[in-house]
Protein backbone atom coordinates (compact mmCIF):
# COMPACT_ATOMS: atom_id res chain seq x y z
CA UNK A 1 0.00 0.00 0.00
CA UNK A 2 1.33 3.41 -0.89
CA UNK A 3 0.99 6.13 1.65
CA UNK A 4 -0.03 9.68 0.80
CA UNK A 5 3.54 10.81 1.29
CA UNK A 6 4.90 8.46 -1.35
CA UNK A 7 2.16 9.23 -3.83
CA UNK A 8 2.04 13.01 -3.59
CA UNK A 9 5.22 13.94 -1.82
CA UNK A 10 3.38 15.27 1.20
CA UNK A 11 1.21 13.76 3.89
CA UNK A 12 -1.58 16.29 4.31
CA UNK A 13 -4.50 16.82 1.98
CA UNK A 14 -5.22 20.17 0.33
CA UNK A 15 -7.79 21.00 -2.33
CA UNK A 16 -5.48 23.04 -4.53
CA UNK A 17 -1.87 22.90 -5.56
CA UNK A 18 0.42 25.69 -4.42
CA UNK A 19 0.22 27.35 -7.81
CA UNK A 20 -3.57 27.24 -7.93
CA UNK A 21 -3.69 28.69 -4.47
CA UNK A 22 -1.39 31.55 -5.44
CA UNK A 23 -3.50 32.43 -8.50
CA UNK A 24 -6.59 32.40 -6.34
CA UNK A 25 -5.01 34.67 -3.76
CA UNK A 26 -3.82 36.99 -6.53
CA UNK A 27 -7.33 37.17 -7.98
CA UNK A 28 -8.76 37.87 -4.53
CA UNK A 29 -6.15 40.55 -3.92
CA UNK A 30 -6.96 42.14 -7.28
CA UNK A 31 -10.69 42.24 -6.44
CA UNK A 32 -9.85 43.65 -3.00
CA UNK A 33 -7.76 46.42 -4.51
CA UNK A 34 -10.49 47.40 -6.97
CA UNK A 35 -13.02 47.44 -4.14
CA UNK A 36 -10.73 49.53 -1.96
CA UNK A 37 -10.21 52.00 -4.80
CA UNK A 38 -13.95 52.31 -5.38
CA UNK A 39 -14.74 52.59 -1.70
CA UNK A 40 -12.16 55.25 -0.89
CA UNK A 41 -12.57 57.47 -3.92
CA UNK A 42 -16.36 57.50 -4.30
CA UNK A 43 -17.87 60.82 -3.35
CA UNK A 44 -20.23 59.78 -0.63
CA UNK A 45 -21.31 61.80 2.40
CA UNK A 46 -20.67 59.18 5.07
CA UNK A 47 -23.01 60.56 7.77
CA UNK A 48 -25.84 60.08 5.25
CA UNK A 49 -24.80 56.47 4.86
CA UNK A 50 -24.93 55.81 8.61
CA UNK A 51 -28.39 57.36 8.91
CA UNK A 52 -29.66 55.52 5.83
CA UNK A 53 -31.47 52.62 7.56
CA UNK A 54 -33.34 55.12 9.72
CA UNK A 55 -34.25 57.28 6.71
CA UNK A 56 -35.43 54.31 4.66
CA UNK A 57 -37.50 53.09 7.59
CA UNK A 58 -38.99 56.54 7.93
CA UNK A 59 -39.91 56.60 4.22
CA UNK A 60 -41.69 53.25 4.44
CA UNK A 61 -43.37 54.41 7.64
CA UNK A 62 -44.84 57.38 5.81
CA UNK A 63 -46.10 55.08 3.03
CA UNK A 64 -48.23 53.06 5.43
CA UNK A 65 -51.16 52.66 5.07
CA UNK A 66 -51.48 52.78 1.24
CA UNK A 67 -54.07 55.27 0.08
CA UNK A 68 -56.44 53.77 -2.51
CA UNK A 69 -58.50 56.95 -3.12
CA UNK A 70 -56.99 57.47 -6.58
CA UNK A 71 -57.22 53.82 -7.54
CA UNK A 72 -59.45 54.43 -10.58
CA UNK A 73 -57.00 56.78 -12.27
CA UNK A 74 -54.06 54.56 -11.28
CA UNK A 75 -55.74 51.58 -12.93
CA UNK A 76 -56.42 53.59 -16.07
CA UNK A 77 -52.75 54.57 -16.48
CA UNK A 78 -51.83 51.00 -15.63
CA UNK A 79 -53.90 49.96 -18.64
CA UNK A 80 -51.97 52.53 -20.73
CA UNK A 81 -48.78 50.92 -19.49
CA UNK A 82 -49.94 47.49 -20.64
CA UNK A 83 -50.88 48.94 -24.02
CA UNK A 84 -47.50 50.62 -24.44
CA UNK A 85 -45.74 47.32 -23.75
CA UNK A 86 -48.01 45.29 -26.02
CA UNK A 87 -47.99 47.70 -28.97
CA UNK A 88 -44.25 48.22 -28.73
CA UNK A 89 -43.64 44.47 -28.62
CA UNK A 90 -45.93 43.89 -31.61
CA UNK A 91 -44.23 46.57 -33.75
CA UNK A 92 -40.78 45.48 -32.63
CA UNK A 93 -41.51 41.86 -33.54
CA UNK A 94 -42.61 42.87 -37.05
CA UNK A 95 -39.65 45.20 -37.59
CA UNK A 96 -37.10 42.78 -36.21
CA UNK A 97 -37.96 40.05 -38.75
CA UNK A 98 -36.11 41.67 -41.67
CA UNK A 99 -33.30 42.76 -39.34
CA UNK A 100 -32.87 39.19 -38.09
CA UNK A 101 -32.95 37.95 -41.68
CA UNK A 102 -30.13 40.21 -42.84
CA UNK A 103 -28.04 39.77 -39.70
CA UNK A 104 -27.94 35.96 -39.87
CA UNK A 105 -24.85 34.79 -41.70
CA UNK A 106 -26.61 32.10 -43.71
CA UNK A 107 -29.52 34.17 -45.03
CA UNK A 108 -28.07 37.64 -45.47
CA UNK A 109 -27.83 38.70 -49.12
CA UNK A 110 -24.26 40.04 -48.90
CA UNK A 111 -21.51 41.36 -46.61
CA UNK A 112 -22.84 44.92 -46.59
CA UNK A 113 -26.30 43.89 -45.43
CA UNK A 114 -24.76 41.65 -42.77
CA UNK A 115 -22.88 44.56 -41.26
CA UNK A 116 -25.89 46.84 -41.61
CA UNK A 117 -27.95 44.29 -39.69
CA UNK A 118 -25.32 43.96 -36.98
CA UNK A 119 -25.00 47.73 -36.68
CA UNK A 120 -28.76 48.06 -36.15
CA UNK A 121 -28.71 45.32 -33.51
CA UNK A 122 -25.76 46.73 -31.58
CA UNK A 123 -27.06 50.31 -31.59
CA UNK A 124 -30.50 49.24 -30.50
CA UNK A 125 -29.27 46.95 -27.76
CA UNK A 126 -26.63 49.09 -26.17
CA UNK A 127 -28.76 52.19 -25.66
CA UNK A 128 -31.06 51.76 -22.68
CA UNK A 129 -34.83 52.15 -23.05
CA UNK A 130 -34.80 55.19 -20.78
CA UNK A 131 -32.21 56.93 -22.93
CA UNK A 132 -34.22 56.11 -26.05
CA UNK A 133 -37.26 57.51 -24.24
CA UNK A 134 -35.39 60.72 -23.40
CA UNK A 135 -34.62 61.17 -27.08
CA UNK A 136 -38.13 60.40 -28.33
CA UNK A 137 -39.78 62.60 -25.72
CA UNK A 138 -37.65 65.44 -27.06
CA UNK A 139 -38.76 64.58 -30.60
CA UNK A 140 -42.42 63.61 -30.28
CA UNK A 141 -43.29 65.42 -27.08
CA UNK A 142 -44.44 63.81 -23.84
CA UNK A 143 -46.94 61.01 -24.25
CA UNK A 144 -47.32 57.37 -25.05
CA UNK A 145 -46.11 57.64 -28.65
CA UNK A 146 -42.61 58.42 -27.39
CA UNK A 147 -42.91 55.51 -24.95
CA UNK A 148 -44.02 53.01 -27.59
CA UNK A 149 -41.25 54.04 -29.99
CA UNK A 150 -38.59 53.99 -27.25
CA UNK A 151 -39.48 50.47 -26.14
CA UNK A 152 -39.76 49.38 -29.76
CA UNK A 153 -36.26 50.64 -30.56
CA UNK A 154 -34.76 48.77 -27.63
CA UNK A 155 -36.70 45.57 -28.36
CA UNK A 156 -35.71 45.35 -32.03
CA UNK A 157 -32.11 44.66 -31.05
CA UNK A 158 -33.07 42.06 -28.48
CA UNK A 159 -35.53 40.13 -30.62
CA UNK A 160 -33.46 40.55 -33.78
CA UNK A 161 -30.30 39.22 -32.14
CA UNK A 162 -31.91 36.11 -30.67
CA UNK A 163 -33.92 35.44 -33.82
CA UNK A 164 -30.85 35.93 -36.00
CA UNK A 165 -28.98 33.38 -33.89
CA UNK A 166 -31.90 30.97 -34.29
CA UNK A 167 -31.78 31.41 -38.07
CA UNK A 168 -28.05 30.70 -38.06
CA UNK A 169 -28.68 27.42 -36.23
CA UNK A 170 -31.36 26.01 -38.54
CA UNK A 171 -31.02 22.68 -40.27
CA UNK A 172 -30.09 23.67 -43.81
CA UNK A 173 -31.31 20.47 -45.49
CA UNK A 174 -34.95 21.59 -45.85
CA UNK A 175 -33.66 24.81 -47.42
CA UNK A 176 -31.53 22.88 -49.90
CA UNK A 177 -34.37 20.47 -50.65
CA UNK A 178 -36.72 23.30 -51.50
CA UNK A 179 -34.09 25.13 -53.52
CA UNK A 180 -33.48 21.91 -55.48
CA UNK A 181 -37.15 21.83 -56.48
CA UNK A 182 -36.80 25.34 -57.87
CA UNK A 183 -38.82 27.09 -55.16
CA UNK A 184 -38.63 30.87 -55.10
CA UNK A 185 -36.70 32.66 -52.33
CA UNK A 186 -39.97 33.71 -50.72
CA UNK A 187 -41.27 30.14 -50.63
CA UNK A 188 -37.98 28.88 -49.20
CA UNK A 189 -38.33 31.36 -46.37
CA UNK A 190 -41.97 30.53 -45.68
CA UNK A 191 -41.70 26.74 -45.88
CA UNK A 192 -38.13 25.95 -44.86
CA UNK A 193 -36.89 28.70 -42.54
CA UNK A 194 -39.99 30.03 -40.78
CA UNK A 195 -41.19 26.67 -39.39
CA UNK A 196 -37.76 26.02 -37.90
CA UNK A 197 -37.48 29.32 -36.06
CA UNK A 198 -41.14 29.55 -35.01
CA UNK A 199 -40.63 28.17 -31.46
CA UNK A 200 -37.75 30.59 -30.79
CA UNK A 201 -39.79 33.41 -32.30
CA UNK A 202 -42.69 32.91 -29.89
CA UNK A 203 -40.43 32.31 -26.92
CA UNK A 204 -38.49 35.51 -27.59
CA UNK A 205 -41.61 37.57 -28.27
CA UNK A 206 -43.24 36.45 -25.01
CA UNK A 207 -40.03 36.99 -23.02
CA UNK A 208 -39.64 40.50 -24.45
CA UNK A 209 -43.25 41.35 -23.72
CA UNK A 210 -42.64 40.42 -20.09
CA UNK A 211 -39.52 42.62 -19.98
CA UNK A 212 -41.29 45.47 -21.77
CA UNK A 213 -44.08 45.41 -19.21
CA UNK A 214 -41.48 46.15 -16.52
CA UNK A 215 -39.73 48.79 -18.59
CA UNK A 216 -42.93 50.60 -19.49
CA UNK A 217 -43.61 51.21 -15.80
CA UNK A 218 -40.70 53.66 -15.67
CA UNK A 219 -41.11 55.44 -19.00
CA UNK A 220 -43.39 58.01 -17.40
CA UNK A 221 -40.53 59.27 -15.24
CA UNK A 222 -39.02 60.89 -18.32
CA UNK A 223 -42.47 61.86 -19.62
CA UNK A 224 -43.08 58.98 -22.01
CA UNK A 225 -46.47 57.88 -20.72
CA UNK A 226 -47.73 55.09 -18.51
CA UNK A 227 -47.91 54.70 -14.76
CA UNK A 228 -44.54 56.40 -14.25
CA UNK A 229 -46.17 59.81 -14.74
CA UNK A 230 -48.56 59.24 -11.84
CA UNK A 231 -45.72 57.84 -9.75
CA UNK A 232 -43.55 60.88 -10.42
CA UNK A 233 -46.48 63.16 -9.58
CA UNK A 234 -47.14 61.41 -6.30
CA UNK A 235 -43.45 61.47 -5.33
CA UNK A 236 -43.06 65.15 -6.22
CA UNK A 237 -46.03 66.07 -4.02
CA UNK A 238 -44.74 63.82 -1.18
CA UNK A 239 -47.99 61.87 -1.33
CA UNK A 240 -46.34 58.73 0.08
CA UNK A 241 -49.50 56.71 0.78
CA UNK A 242 -50.42 57.04 -2.90
CA UNK A 243 -46.86 56.09 -3.90
CA UNK A 244 -47.35 52.89 -1.90
CA UNK A 245 -50.58 52.13 -3.80
CA UNK A 246 -48.83 52.70 -7.13
CA UNK A 247 -45.91 50.47 -6.15
CA UNK A 248 -48.32 47.72 -5.11
CA UNK A 249 -50.15 48.13 -8.43
CA UNK A 250 -46.83 47.73 -10.28
CA UNK A 251 -45.96 44.55 -8.35
CA UNK A 252 -49.38 43.10 -9.14
CA UNK A 253 -49.00 44.06 -12.82
CA UNK A 254 -45.55 42.47 -13.08
CA UNK A 255 -46.70 39.28 -11.37
CA UNK A 256 -49.78 39.03 -13.62
CA UNK A 257 -47.50 39.60 -16.61
CA UNK A 258 -45.26 36.77 -15.47
CA UNK A 259 -48.23 34.44 -14.97
CA UNK A 260 -49.60 35.27 -18.44
CA UNK A 261 -46.26 34.77 -20.15
CA UNK A 262 -45.68 31.49 -18.30
CA UNK A 263 -49.14 30.35 -19.42
CA UNK A 264 -48.54 31.35 -23.06
CA UNK A 265 -45.13 29.70 -23.04
CA UNK A 266 -46.65 26.43 -21.80
CA UNK A 267 -49.43 26.54 -24.37
CA UNK A 268 -47.38 27.53 -27.40
CA UNK A 269 -44.05 25.84 -26.87
Amino acid sequence: MTSLTEKFGRDDWARFTLRQRMTRYAALLGCGLILAWALTSIEVIWPWVWSAPEQIGDLFGRMYPPDPSNLASILSVLWDTVNIATFATAFAVLLSLPVAYISAQNTTPNRATLWLGRLILVTSRSVNTIIWALLFVAIFGPGIVAGIIAIMFRSIGFIGKLLGEAIEEIDKRPVEALEATGASRFKVIIYAIVPQVMPTFWAVAILRWDINLRESTVLGLVGAGGIGIVLQGAIDTFNWPEVATILLAIIVLVIIGEVISAFLRRRIL
Binding site: E43, W48, G143, T217, V218, I251, V254
Partner: protein, 264 residues
Protein backbone atom coordinates in the same frame (compact mmCIF):
# COMPACT_ATOMS: atom_id res chain seq x y z
CA UNK B 1 -63.28 8.36 -46.30
CA UNK B 2 -62.61 11.53 -48.23
CA UNK B 3 -60.73 11.14 -51.51
CA UNK B 4 -56.99 11.74 -51.19
CA UNK B 5 -56.00 15.30 -51.97
CA UNK B 6 -53.39 16.08 -54.53
CA UNK B 7 -52.47 19.42 -53.01
CA UNK B 8 -50.82 20.14 -49.66
CA UNK B 9 -51.60 23.03 -47.39
CA UNK B 10 -49.45 24.35 -44.59
CA UNK B 11 -51.09 23.36 -41.31
CA UNK B 12 -52.48 26.42 -39.50
CA UNK B 13 -50.77 27.82 -36.43
CA UNK B 14 -53.61 26.88 -34.08
CA UNK B 15 -55.20 23.55 -34.85
CA UNK B 16 -58.58 24.21 -33.21
CA UNK B 17 -60.70 26.26 -35.65
CA UNK B 18 -62.87 27.99 -33.04
CA UNK B 19 -59.90 28.90 -30.88
CA UNK B 20 -57.97 30.12 -33.93
CA UNK B 21 -60.68 32.54 -35.01
CA UNK B 22 -61.29 33.62 -31.42
CA UNK B 23 -57.59 34.48 -31.05
CA UNK B 24 -57.47 36.32 -34.40
CA UNK B 25 -60.65 38.29 -33.69
CA UNK B 26 -59.67 39.25 -30.17
CA UNK B 27 -56.23 40.35 -31.38
CA UNK B 28 -57.83 42.54 -34.06
CA UNK B 29 -60.39 43.89 -31.59
CA UNK B 30 -57.70 44.67 -29.02
CA UNK B 31 -55.33 46.45 -31.39
CA UNK B 32 -58.15 48.27 -33.20
CA UNK B 33 -59.91 49.45 -30.09
CA UNK B 34 -56.77 50.44 -28.21
CA UNK B 35 -55.19 52.29 -31.11
CA UNK B 36 -58.39 54.32 -31.49
CA UNK B 37 -58.76 55.03 -27.78
CA UNK B 38 -55.13 55.86 -26.96
CA UNK B 39 -54.58 59.43 -25.83
CA UNK B 40 -52.33 60.60 -28.66
CA UNK B 41 -51.82 64.16 -29.82
CA UNK B 42 -51.17 63.51 -33.51
CA UNK B 43 -50.36 67.14 -34.31
CA UNK B 44 -47.59 67.13 -31.76
CA UNK B 45 -46.30 63.84 -33.15
CA UNK B 46 -46.30 65.24 -36.69
CA UNK B 47 -44.22 68.18 -35.51
CA UNK B 48 -41.70 65.63 -34.32
CA UNK B 49 -40.14 65.07 -37.73
CA UNK B 50 -38.92 68.67 -37.87
CA UNK B 51 -37.72 68.49 -34.29
CA UNK B 52 -35.83 65.29 -34.95
CA UNK B 53 -33.93 67.13 -37.70
CA UNK B 54 -33.10 69.95 -35.30
CA UNK B 55 -31.96 67.57 -32.54
CA UNK B 56 -29.78 65.48 -34.81
CA UNK B 57 -28.45 68.64 -36.45
CA UNK B 58 -27.46 69.85 -32.98
CA UNK B 59 -25.97 66.51 -32.03
CA UNK B 60 -23.48 66.25 -34.91
CA UNK B 61 -20.59 66.33 -34.58
CA UNK B 62 -20.47 64.93 -31.01
CA UNK B 63 -18.54 67.25 -28.72
CA UNK B 64 -15.84 65.81 -26.49
CA UNK B 65 -14.82 69.28 -25.27
CA UNK B 66 -15.83 68.70 -21.68
CA UNK B 67 -14.21 65.30 -21.53
CA UNK B 68 -13.17 65.84 -17.90
CA UNK B 69 -16.83 65.84 -16.86
CA UNK B 70 -17.36 62.80 -18.99
CA UNK B 71 -14.47 60.83 -17.46
CA UNK B 72 -15.48 61.77 -13.91
CA UNK B 73 -19.05 60.68 -14.53
CA UNK B 74 -17.94 57.45 -16.09
CA UNK B 75 -15.52 56.60 -13.27
CA UNK B 76 -18.27 57.28 -10.77
CA UNK B 77 -20.56 54.88 -12.64
CA UNK B 78 -17.82 52.28 -12.56
CA UNK B 79 -17.35 52.70 -8.81
CA UNK B 80 -21.09 52.43 -8.24
CA UNK B 81 -21.19 49.24 -10.29
CA UNK B 82 -18.22 47.67 -8.45
CA UNK B 83 -19.50 48.47 -4.96
CA UNK B 84 -23.04 47.43 -5.77
CA UNK B 85 -21.87 44.14 -7.24
CA UNK B 86 -19.79 43.38 -4.15
CA UNK B 87 -22.61 44.29 -1.77
CA UNK B 88 -25.32 42.65 -3.84
CA UNK B 89 -23.45 39.39 -4.29
CA UNK B 90 -22.57 39.14 -0.58
CA UNK B 91 -26.18 39.77 0.42
CA UNK B 92 -27.58 37.44 -2.18
CA UNK B 93 -25.73 34.41 -0.79
CA UNK B 94 -27.77 34.21 2.44
CA UNK B 95 -30.93 35.16 0.55
CA UNK B 96 -30.26 32.42 -1.98
CA UNK B 97 -29.89 29.89 0.84
CA UNK B 98 -33.14 31.16 2.32
CA UNK B 99 -34.96 30.66 -0.95
CA UNK B 100 -33.60 27.24 -1.88
CA UNK B 101 -36.29 24.70 -1.08
CA UNK B 102 -33.81 21.99 -0.07
CA UNK B 103 -31.99 24.19 2.45
CA UNK B 104 -34.54 26.27 4.30
CA UNK B 105 -37.67 25.44 6.29
CA UNK B 106 -40.93 26.49 4.62
CA UNK B 107 -41.55 29.89 6.29
CA UNK B 108 -37.97 31.02 5.64
CA UNK B 109 -38.26 29.77 2.06
CA UNK B 110 -41.35 31.90 1.44
CA UNK B 111 -39.68 34.93 3.01
CA UNK B 112 -36.66 34.49 0.74
CA UNK B 113 -38.81 34.10 -2.36
CA UNK B 114 -40.81 37.19 -1.40
CA UNK B 115 -37.61 39.25 -1.11
CA UNK B 116 -36.52 38.07 -4.56
CA UNK B 117 -39.92 38.77 -6.17
CA UNK B 118 -40.05 42.28 -4.73
CA UNK B 119 -36.46 43.02 -5.78
CA UNK B 120 -37.20 41.78 -9.29
CA UNK B 121 -40.53 43.53 -9.76
CA UNK B 122 -39.25 47.06 -9.62
CA UNK B 123 -37.24 48.58 -12.39
CA UNK B 124 -33.96 50.04 -11.02
CA UNK B 125 -35.17 53.53 -11.89
CA UNK B 126 -38.11 53.29 -9.48
CA UNK B 127 -35.89 51.90 -6.74
CA UNK B 128 -33.41 54.70 -7.44
CA UNK B 129 -36.06 57.39 -7.02
CA UNK B 130 -37.09 55.97 -3.67
CA UNK B 131 -33.49 55.76 -2.47
CA UNK B 132 -32.73 59.27 -3.69
CA UNK B 133 -35.66 60.49 -1.61
CA UNK B 134 -34.57 58.43 1.39
CA UNK B 135 -30.79 58.95 1.48
CA UNK B 136 -30.28 62.02 -0.69
CA UNK B 137 -28.76 62.67 -4.11
CA UNK B 138 -25.49 61.10 -5.10
CA UNK B 139 -23.75 57.82 -5.78
CA UNK B 140 -24.77 56.21 -2.47
CA UNK B 141 -28.40 56.05 -3.64
CA UNK B 142 -27.11 54.47 -6.85
CA UNK B 143 -25.15 51.83 -4.95
CA UNK B 144 -28.19 50.91 -2.84
CA UNK B 145 -30.37 50.71 -5.95
CA UNK B 146 -28.04 48.39 -7.76
CA UNK B 147 -27.63 46.22 -4.65
CA UNK B 148 -31.38 45.61 -4.76
CA UNK B 149 -31.17 45.01 -8.51
CA UNK B 150 -28.30 42.50 -8.05
CA UNK B 151 -30.13 40.60 -5.32
CA UNK B 152 -33.12 40.14 -7.61
CA UNK B 153 -31.03 38.39 -10.23
CA UNK B 154 -28.08 36.76 -8.44
CA UNK B 155 -30.10 35.38 -5.51
CA UNK B 156 -32.68 33.91 -7.88
CA UNK B 157 -30.13 32.16 -10.10
CA UNK B 158 -28.01 31.03 -7.16
CA UNK B 159 -31.05 29.60 -5.37
CA UNK B 160 -31.82 27.55 -8.47
CA UNK B 161 -28.24 26.25 -8.48
CA UNK B 162 -28.40 25.38 -4.78
CA UNK B 163 -31.57 23.41 -5.39
CA UNK B 164 -29.70 21.35 -7.99
CA UNK B 165 -26.66 20.38 -5.88
CA UNK B 166 -25.64 16.80 -5.29
CA UNK B 167 -26.79 16.07 -1.76
CA UNK B 168 -24.55 13.01 -1.37
CA UNK B 169 -21.61 15.15 -0.31
CA UNK B 170 -23.65 16.99 2.29
CA UNK B 171 -24.88 13.70 3.72
CA UNK B 172 -21.35 12.27 3.78
CA UNK B 173 -20.08 15.28 5.74
CA UNK B 174 -23.00 15.13 8.14
CA UNK B 175 -22.46 11.41 8.68
CA UNK B 176 -18.85 12.15 9.58
CA UNK B 177 -20.17 14.53 12.24
CA UNK B 178 -19.12 17.78 10.60
CA UNK B 179 -20.66 20.93 12.07
CA UNK B 180 -22.99 23.12 9.98
CA UNK B 181 -20.38 25.62 8.84
CA UNK B 182 -17.94 22.95 7.70
CA UNK B 183 -20.69 21.28 5.69
CA UNK B 184 -21.43 24.65 4.12
CA UNK B 185 -17.80 25.34 3.24
CA UNK B 186 -16.70 21.90 2.08
CA UNK B 187 -19.85 20.30 0.68
CA UNK B 188 -22.02 23.12 -0.67
CA UNK B 189 -19.77 26.05 -1.58
CA UNK B 190 -17.49 24.06 -3.91
CA UNK B 191 -20.58 23.01 -5.86
CA UNK B 192 -22.06 26.48 -6.25
CA UNK B 193 -18.86 28.53 -6.52
CA UNK B 194 -18.33 28.29 -10.32
CA UNK B 195 -21.90 29.46 -10.92
CA UNK B 196 -21.53 32.19 -8.33
CA UNK B 197 -18.38 33.60 -9.95
CA UNK B 198 -20.00 33.50 -13.38
CA UNK B 199 -23.07 35.28 -12.02
CA UNK B 200 -20.93 37.90 -10.29
CA UNK B 201 -19.14 38.79 -13.50
CA UNK B 202 -22.39 38.87 -15.43
CA UNK B 203 -23.94 41.06 -12.76
CA UNK B 204 -20.98 43.46 -12.80
CA UNK B 205 -21.59 43.89 -16.50
CA UNK B 206 -25.30 44.50 -16.10
CA UNK B 207 -24.74 46.79 -13.11
CA UNK B 208 -22.47 48.91 -15.27
CA UNK B 209 -25.30 49.24 -17.79
CA UNK B 210 -27.83 50.07 -15.12
CA UNK B 211 -25.51 52.52 -13.37
CA UNK B 212 -25.53 54.57 -16.54
CA UNK B 213 -29.26 55.17 -16.18
CA UNK B 214 -29.90 55.48 -12.45
CA UNK B 215 -28.12 58.82 -12.68
CA UNK B 216 -31.04 60.17 -14.71
CA UNK B 217 -33.04 60.40 -11.49
CA UNK B 218 -30.19 61.76 -9.37
CA UNK B 219 -28.43 58.63 -8.18
CA UNK B 220 -24.97 59.62 -9.42
CA UNK B 221 -22.78 58.46 -12.25
CA UNK B 222 -22.69 59.28 -15.92
CA UNK B 223 -26.49 59.24 -16.16
CA UNK B 224 -26.59 62.49 -14.20
CA UNK B 225 -24.18 64.05 -16.69
CA UNK B 226 -26.35 62.82 -19.54
CA UNK B 227 -29.56 64.13 -17.99
CA UNK B 228 -27.93 67.55 -17.50
CA UNK B 229 -26.68 67.66 -21.07
CA UNK B 230 -30.16 66.78 -22.35
CA UNK B 231 -31.82 69.30 -20.09
CA UNK B 232 -29.57 72.08 -21.36
CA UNK B 233 -30.13 71.11 -24.99
CA UNK B 234 -26.42 70.27 -25.30
CA UNK B 235 -27.24 67.56 -27.79
CA UNK B 236 -23.67 67.30 -29.08
CA UNK B 237 -22.37 66.59 -25.57
CA UNK B 238 -25.28 64.18 -24.97
CA UNK B 239 -24.32 62.26 -28.10
CA UNK B 240 -20.70 62.11 -26.94
CA UNK B 241 -21.85 60.69 -23.58
CA UNK B 242 -24.06 58.15 -25.29
CA UNK B 243 -21.17 57.05 -27.50
CA UNK B 244 -18.97 56.58 -24.42
CA UNK B 245 -21.70 54.58 -22.65
CA UNK B 246 -22.23 52.35 -25.67
CA UNK B 247 -18.48 51.84 -26.09
CA UNK B 248 -18.02 50.99 -22.41
CA UNK B 249 -20.91 48.53 -22.51
CA UNK B 250 -19.50 46.78 -25.57
CA UNK B 251 -16.04 46.52 -23.97
CA UNK B 252 -17.39 45.24 -20.66
CA UNK B 253 -19.64 42.76 -22.44
CA UNK B 254 -16.65 41.40 -24.35
CA UNK B 255 -14.47 41.17 -21.21
CA UNK B 256 -17.17 39.49 -19.15
CA UNK B 257 -17.82 37.03 -21.98
CA UNK B 258 -14.14 36.08 -22.14
CA UNK B 259 -13.80 35.64 -18.37
CA UNK B 260 -16.96 33.57 -18.08
CA UNK B 261 -15.84 31.32 -20.93
CA UNK B 262 -12.47 30.73 -19.26
CA UNK B 263 -14.00 29.93 -15.88
CA UNK B 264 -16.55 27.41 -17.13
Amino acid sequence: MSPPRDTWKKPPLIANTTLRWAVYLSAIAYFGWVSLSMPIDWNRVAEGIGRAGKIFGGAFPPSFERSELLIDGFLESLKIAVLATAGGVLLSIPIAFMSASNMAPRPVFYLGRAIIIIARSFHPIIVAILFVKAVGFGPFAGVLTLIVYSIGFVAKMLAERIEEIDFGQVEAMRAAGAPYLSTLFYAIFPQIMPRQIGLTIYQLDSNLRASAIVGLVGAGGIGATLANAFGRYDYDFALAITIVIVGAILVSEAISGIIRKRIQ
